[in-house]
Symmetry: C2
Subunit: 112 residues, 2 copies
Amino acid sequence: MTDDERGRWSDRDGNGRRTVPPAGAGDRSMATFMDVHSGFVGVTEQQLKEAHERDTAIEAEEGVRFERAWLDPESGKVFCLSHGPSRESVMRIHERAGHPTAEVYEVTVEVA
Amino acid sequence: MTDDERGRWSDRDGNGRRTVPPAGAGDRSMATFMDVHSGFVGVTEQQLKEAHERDTAIEAEEGVRFERAWLDPESGKVFCLSHGPSRESVMRIHERAGHPTAEVYEVTVEVA
């Protein structure tokens, strides 16, 4: 993946000088996390979007980047894929955004 | 997403005639599932890859397509994202591949 594909910032300013990316972004040593939330029974797409935006609005403060989130409104489960420096950083963002969870797994292996 | 991006088959044969995709593939009405497996403590990347390949080798027989899988070898949790016609179809593939789970959630809402 190139910096351009990552698409979060440009690593060159207008004069071609290398600039510093935001904390955590683009750091290939960042870990990947899957977290699980319960109790979202009957939640709508709009409500999930709003909850997710409360996370993404403050994610940079902990160097976290949320990638995707999935909801099963019948069971009330939400799965959330993120990248960040630590499990605790993801937990802090979720807690401050109003939907704390202790179920945050560091997924060190991925296959596709 | 175009058929080419989906990358599982060509919908044109060598003469430019439209061909029929495999059952379930490319059907935009297919559902999306996240499933959770437990007990994969200490499993390696190679072992996860082999387990995943046992799924993908037979996925087409149920019209299922596995997209990504993530492992936390410390807790032993595996999360698996797939598309298919039903929850049962995903469960049948996992069962036949040797790693059954009842925890298959239909995720009807996704945000990114």
